[in-house]
């Protein structure tokens, strides 16, 4: 039985891995093809079945005057906006979540759970509903088509995720740890920064991962709230599309844009699988 179990386990893992990896292989191979190799039927193996070219990739880095899209600027814009918005969301979200988890708030019928739900409810609305208010809001602040404006909007989108994850995390950390810190001579701020925060790294990493993913992949608001001065990567990639769909450069762009997420996921996964913090607070 154990052998059969092991066999089945690896069988399904390999099967699943194929599903996950195949699109990447397909995209990698497509990114080196030219027009004829893409439209002339399915080909897989470079040099044997098609002649690899760098045309798809070079378009990404050529300036617009040479028919390229030059993604380097938007790439750094995207990284800057996502990281800044995620960082601010995590810091504010963690503080808010700790307060919601440890202190009792009451304003009329509004209690802690209602406040938490208010945060999460920001994610229930379809983004389209928010587009016009955001547009008017940013334009009256003079922040349309600017990095600061985008960061502001992304904080609104990302902080609920951080609060949601961190409230759940703090609720599972025994209150007695904070209390012991107080008894051992910490005032409430020291208790938070010296004891609670160092033990919250796993929760913050998970929250951070989600913030980065949701910030990085957003197309809608990046599209609506920017025009020419500031452009983010997803918008720029879509701009590749013309009368002929350039599958080769789209594939290359897709690979380039997904790379940071893969790197972040690997880093976070290594921290989490250490398990030295996530299970420690039991």
């Amino acid at each position: 039985m154990p052998r059969l179990y092991t066999f089945l386990k690896y069988f399904f893992v390999v099967l699943w891995a194929c599903f996950v990896i195949a699109p990447f292989l397909w995209a990698i191979s497509t990114s080196f093809k030219d027009f004829n190799s893409v439209t002339g039927g399915a080909t897989y193996i470079p040099w044997l079945q098609f002649e690899p070219t760098l045309d798809g990739w070079s378009v990404l880095f050529k300036p617009g005057s040479q028919g390229g899209i030059n993604i380097i600027g938007p790439y750094f814009n995207s990284i800057f906006v996502t990281l800044t918005a995620s960082l601010i969301s995590i810091v504010l979200g963690t503080l808010a979540a700790y307060a919601l988890s440890r202190y009792t708030f009451k304003a009329g019928i509004v209690k802690n759970n209602d406040i938490t739900f208010f945060f999460i409810s920001q994610r229930i609305m379809p983004p389209v509903v928010l587009s016009i208010p955001f547009f008017i809001f940013l334009s009256s602040l003079g922040l349309l088509d600017s990095l600061a404006g985008l960061i502001l909007v992304y904080i609104v989108l990302l902080m609920p995720i951080a609060v949601w994850i961190m409230v759940d995390f703090f609720n599972r950390v025994p209150r007695e740890i904070d209390e012991t810190a107080l008894i051992d001579g910490c005032n409430p701020f020291q208790a938070f920064f010296k004891v609670v925060l160092p033990n919250s790294v796993p929760g913050m990493l998970v929250a951070g991962l989600f913030c980065i993913i949701f910030g990085w992949i957003d197309f809608f608001f990046a599209f609506i709230l920017t025009f020419t001065k500031v452009q983010l990567l997803p918008v720029k990639i879509v701009a590749l599309n013309s009368s002929i769909t350039p599958w080769w450069s789209l594939s290359a762009a897709a690979l380039v844009s997904v790379a940071p997420l893969i790197i972040v996921a690997f880093i976070v996964e290594r921290y989490l699988s250490k398990g030295n913090l996530s299970g420690a607070l039991k």
Partner: protein
Amino acid sequence: MSLMLNHISFKPTEEYHLNDISLRFESGKMYTILGRTLSGKTTLLKTIAGLQTPDSGSINFDDTDFLSIPVWKRNVAMVYQQFINYPHLNVRDNIAFPLKQRKMDENLIESEVKEAMEKVGLIGFESRKIQELSGGQQQRVALARSLAKKAKILLLDEPLVNLDYKLREGLREEFKKLFNVSDESNSILIYASTDPLEAMQLNGNIIVIDEGKILQSGTAKDVFENPATAKVAEITNDPAMNINKCLIQDNSLIMNDSVQIQIPDQLKSIPNGKYLVGIRATDIYLDDQGFAFDVEISEISGSETFLHLRNNNLKCVATIEEVKTYNTNEVVKINFDKSKIYLFEESGELQHSPYQ
């Protein structure tokens, strides 16, 4: 130095968690707060520590108003029933944490930590991570941290309850030694427990608490021999003392139609009437000439067997000094040690104790 609690009440909801509690703790002495789960033990300890503010009443320590001092300046130490340590610090840093917080000299911290670790037997574990330790060791770390502080008030909230039986027995012995040592330091030691046996073994002053109210306080011997009320008698015995309604009439003590005993000499002076009779489980023995009871449950505990017995509406638990399996509904004949019978008024107050 002494810690005085004056009319402390705490009522966060409909029910009292602490109900008009007045106590006096002397330094250099040990107190055991004995009560069932949710009786208010933890709330009382947290109130002394300052983690909870009572609705009314005052706490004075050494002529200072304790309630006006925040937790982090009260210089108390507390060990919880859960093993609470700082998971991000190793054993040494855990124990040193309160001392560092006090900005003590590094060398002094080093020696204090070493001393505390020696006391609880953790030498060699200095740089271990908390999560690499067993439950018993984790609790030793928590204990060492509270000892290293040399706090004037040491609060222990059922520190042994989450440990397995053998560890608990061993650590309790060490506790007793530790407490004797710490007598010199003149601190007040308050130990909360649900286990009457533990309270008796620790042999300090016992404070019996139930539903947030102090029922009795006194020495272990006193509380055991002369429980103030039937409730105290139930709480301070394990298994709980058998308390049943009875009628004293014409020199017989009537528990129900079939269980009636001749009034023993020491109870002769008690007027006829309705009472509560209290008999310890250990004062019931098997006797072929005795009363027939049905076995409801029998449980083996160590070298003893607890029999849950029933005769019509009369229920009692007996401790039999042997290991034997009884079937449910089996009929056993038992008798009561008449010289050890307690009588309580119907309202619960003690009327007669065999130790009076």
